[in-house]
């Protein structure tokens, strides 16, 4: 069985932890996020020809005042940047994070636009969004509440990584 390390990134409060909570198998409490800044869960994903075990490093919310623990990205095969479409700022911060990641690692990234169960209230035009999506290999509309888009996102990552 193939194992891959992937990192879950995003601004504070975009719902990274909630997004994977129902979906993954974990043994560590959320306390780890605030104490050492990371919590690890795992998820086995079946692709067409094999099973991939994703080790998901859920990294503490990043904002402009808080440093980015680049070391946690070491050895990662892919990353997900989670944003919240009810907050414009979350995408700005997501783009900052993308820039920082690109500086230290050349790995595929996926954009997750979260909280789609709520109406969108950010001020980004479709053109702007289309341009932003260019920086990622794929983007997904997700909802931690309904679980929409979560499974397809991880399955896509598994496919990309084993292709």
């Amino acid at each position: 069985m193939i194992q891959k390390k992937i990192c879950l990134l995003g601004a504070t409060g975009v719902g990274k932890t909630s997004l994977v909570k129902q979906y993954v198998e974990g043994i560590f409490s959320e306390k780890y996020l605030t104490s050492i800044g990371v919590k690890i869960d795992k998820k086995q994903v079946e692709t067409e020809n094999q099973t991939v075990q994703l080790m998901i490093w859920d990294i503490e919310g990043i904002d402009r005042y808080c440093g980015f623990q680049a070391k946690y990205l070491r050895g990662a095969s892919a990353f997900i940047i989670v944003t919240d479409h009810t907050r414009s700022q979350s995408l700005v911060e997501g783009l900052d994070i993308l820039k920082m990641v690109k500086e230290v690692a050349d790995i595929p990234g996926v954009l997750a636009v979260n909280k789609v169960d709520l109406p969108a209230s950010w001020h980004w035009s479709e053109t702007e969004l289309a341009e932003i999506k260019q920086g990622f290999v794929q983007f997904f509309n997700t909802s931690a509440k309904t679980g929409d888009g979560v499974e397809p996102m991880f399955t896509h990552i598994a496919k990309v990584l084993t292709a």
Partner: protein
């Protein structure tokens, strides 16, 4: 100039040498390699076994490399030629099964034995209690007590990704979710490394040992992989050394695989052999059992001896008490209290009729050491039939010709007596309280001598007189509380008294005696003294009046009011009239 020449000549020498070398050895030693290649089989074949042996003795790496290859070949061979293997193994299977069943049963017996030993010994029970106290399972606690240290689990972790390459464990329930633990350990290491990085050097900080109350995590980092061991107990340096050796070995053997690692851990499956070397276990030394606590044993022994002595004493005194208790059965002795006094003495309190056997005597009769019994006795009058018999027999002992036979509690007297003796005997028996003498008991006595002489004998007449006086003296008339009227019963009694008294007058006059009857009235304590005085007088007067009516001369009667009879024992019996017959010479 000369120098220059020298230098150019040496340069041309070197170039020439290179040319010669090229000619002989060929380009890049091609000729030599070609020659070696041609004879490779021969050359390697000559030293192959020795080389394998030498390398194996040197670091044991041959075995580790060959083992997975051999295992795989056998596996493949069995998979493809299973029929052939079955036919090879068929004859062996029977004995193999027998052997394995025997081994299984032996192991089961041993395990059961150990279980029983661990469960039923004091040590086992103590462990169970302590395990319960500290909230771990018995097996965990037993392991922690049995092993000085034990490597429970070993992880091989890819340095860069933190992904788990392989793990081995002792198969206990402690086995954690190895892949998540290894990633988390990597994260923690990164956290520590970043948080406490000194700016002075570029050297990365790494976790080396993580200790908890029960566990030690030992981390050894190599350039491409890390080995982590989870250890219980006190970890000696040897474990760290073994981890280091294993890590180096793995780096040597799996160098390329580590470099090319893309998340597939299958190439590292064979590293299990190296990792197993790290699962070290050392038993705790048994405590020196030859050292025995003599002092404590002596104290325990003394206490036991003391207890034994006290028990024996207590038992003896208990036995003695049971023996002494039987004194209650002796006629005329009433046991009121019995208790132990001190270690072995008995304290006894009894009521004893003076006619019965003495306590001292009773103890001697029953073989009891009288020093062991302290007794206190008070006298009382016993109505015990046995004692009455005893008293009766004592009386007739004075009359050698009289014999007594007992029909139940009633005596029957027989034998020869004089008239006087009969009267005297009758008198004594009448006075014996509890016998309730009846005159017919004496009917079987044969009187010696004649009636005439008897009536002439003044002593005999006086005896008869005394006897009849005693009869009247014993009569009493009872009254209701506060009353002085005579009942029918009382009147009947008075008629009998009148007859007896008139008979006596006759006899008394023969003897020249003047006879009188004193009538004494009495009352109980209820009421005032003066009232009772009057009441008692009234009672006596009424009786006197009645006797007068019946025909006794007034001159012979004297009624006296005694007032209250202040005797606790009297109670209701105090309400009565009593008689006293008196006589005077010269009537």
């Amino acid at each position: 100039m000369a120098d220059l020449n020298e230098q150019s000549s040496s340069n041309s020498d070197t170039a020439q040498m290179r040319q010669i070398r090229q000619l002989v050895l060929g380009e890049d030693g091609l000729h030599v390699r070609q020659t070696l290649k041609d004879n490779a089989r021969e050359l390697v074949g000559e030293v192959f076994t020795e080389a394998l042996h030498d390398r194996e003795t040197q670091d044991g790496s041959v075995n580790k490399v060959l083992l997975p290859i051999v295992e795989k070949s056998v596996e493949k061979s069995i998979a493809t030629n299973s029929d052939r293997f079955v036919s090879y193994l068929y004859p062996l299977i029977g004995s193999l099964v027998r052997k394995s069943v025997t081994a299984f049963i032996t192991e089961l017996l041993e395990k059961t034995n150990t279980l029983i030993e661990n469960s039923l010994t004091i040590k086992g029970l103590t462990w169970r209690f302590k395990a319960w106290q500290s909230g771990v399972t018995f097996s965990q606690y037993a392991a922690s007590q049995t092993f000085a240290f034990r490597v429970e689990q070993v992880f091989l972790i890819h340095r860069e990704t933190g992904l788990l390459l392989n793990s081995v464990s002792l198969g206990l329930e402690l086995e954690a979710d190895a892949d998540m633990v290894s990633s988390m350990l990597t994260a923690i290491n990164d956290f520590v490394s970043d948080s406490f990085n000194t700016n002075t050097g570029k050297v990365e900080q790494n976790l080396d040992v993580v200790r908890t109350d029960d566990f030690t995590l030992l981390l050894k980092k190599g350039p491409k992989a890390s080995v982590v061991a989870a250890i219980t107990g006190n970890m000696p340096q040897g474990v760290a050394n073994q981890l280091q050796t294993t890590l180096e070995e793995i780096h040597k053997l799996y160098d390329k695989e580590l470099d090319k690692f893309d998340g597939d851990s299958i190439p590292f499956n064979n590293s299990e052999h190296q990792l197993r070397d790290c699962l070290m276990t050392v038993l705790k030394p048994e405590h020196d059992s030859s050292k025995k606590p003599w002092m404590a044993w002596t104290v325990v022994l003394l206490i036991l001896l003391g207890c034994g002595f006290l028990l024996v004493k207590r038992w003896n005194s208990h036995e003695l008490m049971n023996q002494v208790r039987l004194i209650d059965n002796a006629p005329g002795i009433l046991l009121t209290s019995i208790e132990t006094s001190g270690l072995e003495q008995i304290q006894l309190e009894v009521l004893r009729d003076p006619a019965s056997v003495s306590i001292q005597e009773w103890l001697e009769l029953n073989g009891i050491d009288s020093n062991l019994v302290i007794f206190k006795e008070r006298a009382y009058l016993s109505l015990d039939p046995l004692l009455i018999k005893h008293k009766t027999e004592k009386i007739i002992a004075d009359y050698p010709n009289v014999k007594v036979d007992w029909v139940g509690d009633f005596p029957k007297f027989s034998g020869n007596v004089t008239n006087l003796d009969k009267l005297l005997l009758q008198g004594e028996l009448t006075k014996l309280i509890g016998l309730n003498f009846q005159t017919n008991w004496l009917d079987d006595l044969i009187i010696e001598g004649t009636e005439s002489t008897a009536s002439d004998d003044p002593e005999l007449v006086r005896a008869i007189l005394d006897l009849n006086i005693a009869k009247i003296d014993r009569v009493s008339i009872a009254f209701e509380a506060g009353q002085s009227d005579l009942s029918e019963q009382a009147i009947e009694k008075l008629i009998s008294v009148k007859q007896q008294f008139n008979n006596l007058i006759e006899v008394a006059e023969q003897q020249e005696l003047s006879l009188g009857l004193i009538i004494m009235g009495a009352s109980d304590t209820v009421g005032t003294v003066s009232f009772n005085k009057i009441l008692s007088q009234k009672r006596a007067d009424n009786v006197k009046l009645k006797l007068q009516e019946l025909g006794i001369a007034d001159s012979r009667l004297n009624a006296i009011g005694l007032g209250v009879i202040e005797l606790e024992t009297a109670k209701d019996a105090a309400r009565k009239v009593m008689f006293n017959v008196v006589y005077f010479e010269g009537g």
